[in-house]
């Protein structure tokens, strides 16, 4: 018990030391947003007031009562707003946003996460975007009425700026309706958190797939082993040249696991096409011409996934 007490007490001490220091008196502007807007009055800046951040009724928002207005995000920028002597370069604001600014990514993100702790910033620390030093502003636009990355139709293109390979896959003939603007990346991926390897929205890849394809969850009486383990064994969810987003064309896909003597192991050639001896193992749904329950069967006679 002493050991546990020691561990807990040490943890508490760390918690206390981790709390932000109080009593700072950094150099803020004299008049807050009015100092900023007396110069920055162009449409690009003022678009902020059409969005969610500039709501004076939000007590926790940057423009809520007693909040720090522009400097809630751009940091104390009294030097920037103050007078400069002739010939002296005006100091930059405390923080500017985006990869092409000199403000360190950790500083930029710190401003965002200080407020967004309980929602989108909840799992940020240590996730892959954080580790790879992705700035919040690389994806998000706050000076706008509607942030494109928060809209289903426009979000994928924001993600594709970095994830180019996924853009290519999404254009393949058989893909989720991303190209049509009816599905977004965050439907499957938790971009702000997740402790699984590909930041899935649910705990695992299969759990993520089941959130839309719940009929395949089972458990079935007769399970198909690779299905129970990983949908990605057969499907490429970002897009494929093959129907059903299958990773390969059957029968080769099935033959990469199934090797029973006889029909499962027959090679395929042009003789099995119409005009020759049309093959039930190649044409139409090929293997699934009979084994229609490839995701599992609950029929007592369905052990071969035909029922």
């Amino acid at each position: 018990m002493k050991f546990i007490t020691l561990v807990i007490a040490t943890t508490m001490l760390l918690l206390l030391t981790a709390s932000p220091a109080s009593g700072q008196d950094p150099n803020y502007s004299r008049e807050g947003a009015d100092s900023c807007l007396s110069c920055h009055d162009d449409d690009a800046v003022l678009a902020l007031f059409k969005g969610a951040h500039a709501n004076p009724s939000d007590p926790n928002g940057p423009f809520g009562h007693g909040q720090l207005q522009c400097e809630a995000c751009h940091g104390p920028s009294g030097d920037h707003a103050g007078r400069v002597r002739r010939g002296q370069e005006r100091p930059s604001p405390n923080a500017l946003f985006g990869s092409e600014t000199a403000t360190p990514v950790s500083t930029q993100n710190g401003f965002c996460i200080d407020c967004h702790t309980d929602d989108t910033g909840f799992g940020w620390h240590g996730n892959d975007h954080d580790t790879n030093e992705i700035a919040c502003a690389d994806c998000h636009t706050s000076h706008t009425a509607q942030d494109p990355v928060l809209m289903t139709a426009t979000q994928p293109e924001v993600c594709f700026e970095c994830h180019q390979q996924q853009r290519t896959q999404s254009l393949k003939p058989y893909a989720h309706p991303i190209r049509q603007g009816k599905m977004d990346c965050s439907g499957c991926h938790n971009n702000h958190g997740a402790t699984n390897e590909l930041q899935f929205a649910q705990q695992t890849l299969n759990d993520t797939c089941f959130s839309c394809h719940a009929e395949k969850r089972g458990p079935y009486l007769w399970e198909h082993a690779p299905v129970a383990e990983d949908c990605g064994n057969c499907h490429d969810p970002h897009g494929s040249n093959h129907p059903g987003m299958l990773a390969m064309r059957a029968p080769m896909l099935c033959q990469s696991c199934h090797s029973q003597a006889g029909h499962p192991s027959l090679p395929a050639d042009g003789d099995g096409l119409p005009g020759g001896a049309p093959s039930q193992f190649m044409l139409g749904q090929n293997c699934m011409n009979c084994h229609t329950q490839s995701h599992g069967s609950n029929h007592p006679s369905g052990s071969r996934l035909m029922r």
Binding site: G32, Q164, N196, Y220, N241, G284
Partner: protein, 704 residues
């Protein structure tokens, strides 16, 4: 309570009540925000118009709802009301189509928010299909009274007169209600409920030993999902507790169909099981603790779930003339317990270094009872074989360690090691490990240029390939299933992004190479190679004009060995997949912001070349699988007045495939399979549209 417990409780209490210090002590009493143009009142934009689609094309309607020739109503818009702390917003898209979206949210920012979302998603697969089956009121599939059964499809003399067109399509409707309440800044309570309803027709196949028929299977099911919980923060600790529930319900447990092929008396019908109802519930706890000590964050998550499926069993056979043994039970009592635990520690112990450690455990523990079943093969042949079900379980543990250091202010070097262990039951491989090592160099000499090279290798090893299991399943003992086989992988990835200082031009490029070798597989996949390259270019020519170009190429080549004679390799095959796309577009805003013009064009080509060689392979190769798509979209917006715009839209899409699985395959082409005769995709569709956008603005840009 003894002394130690008192100390412990006091320590915990001290932490929990520790107030969060304000970021800064700033006197904002004089910050009037007089120049702040706060948006107040009601503002909305409403789009209304009409589009005309030139041709029927199921695939073009997939996701869009524009699958039939004719006119469609274009309706949509967005709006927001903000007054006295209340914020209401709505969004509507494609209200005249089967892909409609309607979203409404209301609340007081920082206090509560309620949301209602309704979406429809059309899935359009084929409109060239036809069937001989008619669905009865109960949903069973019957043949026409004049149907003439035969042993093979060429004997179906009543086929032509019996075929009826039937589209293969389904619709998904999603209704979601959400709520969020923030009683304090540090506490967030949330609850979401959604229902996904599906209805339509898909294709299943009903088989009778060596024959089968394509069945138009009705879909009518729904899934309710609940996600509720709380997130709160205390000092440097964030914690979240959540409940997730998924409840799938299918009104139909089976599909009964008349056999179109010759049947013995009493064996004229077959029956398939449809997806059974299932429940899944999960509790999860997540948290993050941040400390300034070594600049460290510790994140954890723990989730425990249970899935259940207990739908009543169908009998072994629908036939009354087959004497089948008793079932071992009336239902499966299927139960799967899941557990997922993760711990991640990231730290920046020195200014220019970072390290990351993560561990994750995922488990699927299938507790479904194992019983013995004696199947009736395709509702025709009873067997005395005793088969036991194999409820698959697995445990997967993944350990990762990585670190990086910044050198010379412009170079960052990092490296990592991952190990994954996978334990299964009932399969050929019980224990499997994969070790991966990688290194990465990132060079960022300026904020305008960044290049990164990442490379590494991984080795998947197995304790043993249990050929007894393989043989018991009828498998060739030389087969190494591709997800269970030894594999060595090498990979490299190069990324480059650049922009010009003071010039709004940016270029992005990425190249990925991966090669897999399955050197211990005598049968199955033996090797594969993947190359992916992508290039983007964008240029904001002026405030009014911008353009972009984009291109990408994927190539995935795989080889495998097979044997139909239960011996060593008798044939080999290659499966070469490639896909290329390129496109571009521009945006032009005309003088005085009167006209906006947007154009996007994409061209893509896919090709798969499958080539078998060896024993019993003819010299007549399979033709290539090919697809080409041209997609063009042109939108012009003319600002007629302060409140009204005129929109003109033009859209063109051409899609063409060559697919040997469908080309020339009519309903009776395959002697032992009655198909629906779907055609390979081949369409050209034009869509022209005209509409107006009307702005409503009863608000004002208020300033304090």
């Amino acid at each position: 309570m003894n002394g130690n417990k008192k100390k412990l409780s006091a320590a915990i209490a001290a932490t929990l009540i520790l107030p969060t210090a304000s970021l800064a002590q700033v006197d904002t009493s004089e910050w009037q925000c007089e120049y702040c143009p706060f948006d107040d009142g009601y503002r909305a934009e409403v789009n209304a118009g009409v589009s005309y689609v030139s041709d029927d094309a199921a695939r073009f309607g997939n996701g869009t709802g524009l699958d039939e020739k004719g006119a469609y109503l274009d309706l949509g818009g967005t709006g927001r009301y903000r007054k006295n702390g209340t914020d209401v917003s709505w969004y509507a898209e494609d209200l005249g189509l089967d892909s409609r979206v309607l979203s409404i949210s209301a609340g007081r920012p920082g206090t509560y928010k309620l949301g209602l979302d309704y979406r429809e998603l059309p899935y359009r697969q084929f409109d060239t299909t036809s069937t001989v089956f008619t669905r009865t009121g109960a949903g069973d599939l019957t043949l026409p009274s004049a149907w003439v059964p035969a042993a093979t499809t060429d004997g179906f003399t009543a086929l032509d007169a019996s075929l009826m067109p039937l589209k293969i399509e389904k619709d998904r409707q999603i209704l979601e209600l959400s709520g969020e309440y923030l009683p304090t800044r540090n506490l967030n309570l949330f609850a979401d409920y959604s229902r996904q309803q599906r209805d339509g027709v898909s294709v299943m196949t009903g088989s009778r030993f060596t024959q089968s028929a394509y069945l138009p299977r009705p879909i009518d099911d729904y899934t309710d999902q609940i996600n509720a919980g709380a997130r709160f923060s205390v000092g440097a600790v964030n914690l979240g507790l959540a409940y997730y529930g998924s409840f799938y319900r299918n009104d139909r447990d089976s599909l009964t169909w008349d056999n179109p092929f010759t049947s013995a008396s009493g064996l004229e019908q077959g029956r398939l099981a449809l997806e059974p109802d299932n429940d899944f519930q999960q509790l999860s706890l997540t948290g993050i603790y941040r400390t300034a000590t070594l600049n460290t964050a510790v994140a954890f998550s723990a989730a425990m779930g249970r899935g259940e499926q207990n739908a009543a069993f169908l009998p072994y056979t629908i036939s009354s003339v087959i004497a089948a043994p008793a079932l071992p039970g009336t239902s499966l009592n299927g139960e799967v317990d899941t557990s997922n635990y993760a711990l991640t520690v990231t730290s920046k112990p020195l200014d220019k270094t970072n390290v990351k450690f993560s561990y994750r455990h995922d488990e699927r523990d299938n507790q479904t009872p194992v019983s013995t079943y004696s199947r009736v093969i395709t509702d025709t042949f009873p067997t005395s074989d005793a088969e036991t079900n194999t409820p698959y379980s697995f445990e997967r543990d993944r350990l990762s360690l990585s670190g990086g250091v910044k050198l010379f202010n412009s170079v960052r070097v990092s490296a990592g090691y991952d190990r994954t262990e996978l334990n299964r039951d009932y399969q050929e491989v019980a224990e499997q490990t994969e070790d991966s090592g990688w290194g990465k160099v990132r060079w960022r000499p300026t904020t305008y240029l960044e290049a990164a090279l990442r490379g590494g290798s991984s080795r998947r090893e197995i304790d043993a390939y249990n050929t007894d299991v393989a043989v018991s399943l009828g498998q060739n003992p030389l087969m190494r299933k591709y997800n269970l086989a030894y594999r060595y992988r090498e990979f490299a990835e190069l990324t480059l992004s650049a922009s010009l200082p003071e010039k709004p031009i940016s270029i992005g490029m990425s190249y990925l190479y991966a090669e897999d070798s399955y050197t211990e597989s005598e049968l199955g996949i033996t090797d594969s190679e993947e190359d992916r390259i992508n290039v983007d270019f964008s240029w904001a020519v002026s405030d009014a004009t911008s353009l972009y170009l984009s291109a990408g190429s994927d190539s995935i080549d795989a080889s495998q060995l097979g044997s139909e004679s239960f011996q060593g390799p008798a044939w080999q095959a290659s499966h070469d997949d490639s896909f290329n796309h390129y496109g571009g577009g521009f945006r032009i805003a005309g003088k005085n912001e009167k006209i906006d013009l947007t154009l996007d064009y994409t061209r893509s080509d896919g090709e798969t070349d499958i080539l078998f060689s060896g024993q019993n392979v003819s010299s007549n190769p399979l033709p290539k699988l090919e697809s080409t798509m041209d997609s063009l979209r042109l939108v012009m917006n003319y600002r007629m007045s302060e409140r009204m715009d005129l929109n003109l839209g033009l859209r063109y899409e051409q899609f063409e495939t060559a697919d040997w699985a469908l080309d020339g395959v009519q309903a009776d082409t395959i002697p032992v399979v009655l198909t629906m005769g779907a055609d390979a995709y081949d369409y050209d569709v034009w869509v022209v549209g005209i509409g107006i956008r009307y702005r409503i603005d009863t608000g004002k840009s208020a300033t304090n």
